[in-house]
């Protein structure tokens, strides 16, 4: 199947994430995740919780093909990303919106340019970029700050830019790795609220966090990791650690 064909299939198929007996072992036999079996349906909001060093970030890295599993298989839609070629990785990442704790914004680009960049790399037309970016900035509440650089924004605003960038190409999945880790309680509530809204529009949201209040407030599916293994998977769960 051609690359375009695969992308088309991913866009139009149900976006289900499946992990089959996935393990990631780093050199010196350091086990990051062990024998993970997980299925996340399209449109779900899943919180992945666990203490530091339990394999949460490794799981995210495996999903965006930043790392490859030592054993097992990961499927997103019909795409087996365990065997993904390095040339196809950018295409995978354009289907998944990623939000990091440290925002990972391009410091020499404005809010508008940072958001537009995700569309530019995907080859979207200038006209579409000019139409979509202001809409997304409006959604995250940054409409009046499009020309500002990251260093001119607060932490909460920077995280909203990161969400706008993750959202702008209308991904089927959003992965948020400790998005509120560097934020105060007010900004934390706002970010979680934005993620919930995104989920209401049908986007699958994977929220990696160790913030008990957020998880308990959401009352959505909670997957708990400990020592690289899933110890709990509750449909409407709470923070149990």
């Amino acid at each position: 199947m051609t690359r375009l064909g695969r992308i088309a299939k991913i866009w139009y198929n149900v976006f289900m994430i499946k992990l089959h007996s996935v393990s990631k072992i780093y050199p010196a036999e350091t086990v990051a995740v062990r024998n993970l079996n997980l299925q996340i349906d399209a449109g779900e909001f899943v919180s992945i919780v666990g203490q530091s060093g339990t394999g949460k970030t490794t799981l995210i890295k495996l999903l965006i093909a930043e790392e490859r599993p030592t054993r097992g298989k990961i499927e997103i839609g019909d795409w087996d990303i365990t065997r993904i070629g390095s040339r196809d990785i950018p295409f995978l990442r354009r289907q998944i919106g990623i939000v990091f704790q440290d925002f990972k914004l391009l410091p020499k680009k404005t809010v508008y340019e940072n958001t537009a960049f995700a569309l530019e790399v995907a080859g979207e037309s200038g006209r579409r970029i000019h139409a979509v970016v202001p809409q997304v900035l409006e959604i995250v509440g940054l409409h009046g700050k499009a020309d500002r650089y990251p260093y001119q924004l607060s932490g909460g605003e920077q995280q909203r830019v990161a969400i706008a960038r993750a959202l702008v190409h209308r991904p089927k999945i959003i992965v948020a790795d400790e998005p509120t880790g560097n934020l105060d309680s007010i900004n934390t509530a706002e970010i979680v609220s934005i993620l919930s809204k995104i989920n209401e529009f049908g986007t699958t949201v994977l929220l990696v966090t160790h913030n008990r209040e957020i998880v308990n407030h959401l009352r959505r599916r909670v997957v708990t990791l400990n020592n690289g293994e899933i110890i709990n998977d509750d449909r409407e769960g709470k923070y149990r650690l």
């Binding site: 040339r87 950018p90 295409f91 990442r93 020499k108 680009k109 960049f117 790399v121």
Partner: protein, 302 residues
């Protein structure tokens, strides 16, 4: 917008927003190119000096006063048959006498002695020039035959022989040292340019990793850096050409005092501009592009 225009836009944005780093990279490239051009100019000047000195060396054959113009012409025809010989000039015995009298017109004692001898005591003179100083030996040996030897009273070459050997030795050594320096310089230039580009890319490693994480392809990331390499090369070459010609305008008047025939480095550079700067452009372009690719290879493994 086509990807190429987008890459162009990012390239110019990167250059403008990292102006100090861009400026330093171009500055170092210009310094390297100026050093290369200095070495090149020294090589050209050494070559010109060697040519001038070689040009001033000749063999003078002094014939006996009794040698007839026909005999001298025969020898001239014979010598001209040698491919090494570039020029043969004959001065008749009358011209030699006139030249002598003109040289010593203020020395009455010499002129009185000449008058006492009566008539013209000089024979004709033949001045021979060859392509290379080492060829003079061959000419002298060719004339050392019974048929001509009795007509030649003296030869000036014997006085220059040792000096010529020494000069040849020095020019050979200068050439070897020049090549050694050129190789050393090229190596140093490579290291400096490679490290400058590597540092420039290393400072942007976080940006590169972010671009990868939002789905930029390797060529979309590499593109601006490769274009930057081309722009840096072009700007540094243009600036170097301007600086070199400015320097030559200042140096040329001094050179015209040292070298005869109105030798000018500006003229040399003008007549070799395509070759000289074409070669430098190609070398710098290869260096910067290869350095960029090598430096980025590590950053792109995200």
């Amino acid at each position: 917008m086509y990807p190429i225009f987008r890459i162009l836009k990012f390239t110019f944005q990167d250059i403008a927003r990292n102006f100090s780093l861009s400026f330093m990279t171009v500055f170092i490239l210009i310094l390297m190119l100026l050093s290369v051009n200095t070495l090149w100019a020294v090589d050209v000047l050494t070559g010109e000096a060697v040519r001038v000195v070689k040009n001033q060396i000749d063999v003078s054959l002094y014939f006996i006063p009794e040698a007839t113009p026909k005999e001298v012409d025969n020898i001239k025809t014979y010598i001209q048959m040698f491919p090494e010989v570039t020029e043969v000039t004959i001065r008749s015995k009358e011209e030699v006498l006139n030249s002598f009298e003109s040289n010593y017109k203020l020395n009455k004692e010499v002129l009185a002695a000449l008058a006492e001898l009566g008539g013209n005591p000089f024979g004709p003179t033949m001045v021979v020039k060859t392509k290379e100083p080492k060829d003079y030996k061959k000419v002298i040996e060719a004339l050392d035959v019974p048929e001509y030897a009795h007509l030649i009273e003296a030869r000036s070459f014997d006085d220059h022989e040792e000096a010529l050997d020494r000069f040849q030795n020095i020019t050979n050594r200068v050439e070897r040292v020049g090549w050694g320096l050129a190789v050393l310089f090229a190596f140093i230039a490579f290291l400096i340019i490679f490290n400058t580009i590597r540092v420039a890319i290393y400072t942007q490693r976080t940006e590169i990793s972010i671009k990868r994480l939002v789905g930029a392809s390797n060529w979309f990331i590499r593109g601006p850096y490769l274009l930057e390499s081309i722009i840096f090369t072009t700007v540094s070459i243009i600036a170097t050409i301007a600086l070199v010609f400015l320097a030559l305008r200042w140096i040329d008047p001094y050179l015209s005092v040292v070298f005869p025939d109105n030798f000018s480095l500006t003229n040399y550079y003008k007549s070799h501009i395509l070759w000289l700067f074409g070669l430098q452009t190609l070398a710098v372009l290869i260096l910067t592009v290869v350095s960029s690719c090598l430096a980025m290879r590590k950053q792109l493994k995200v």
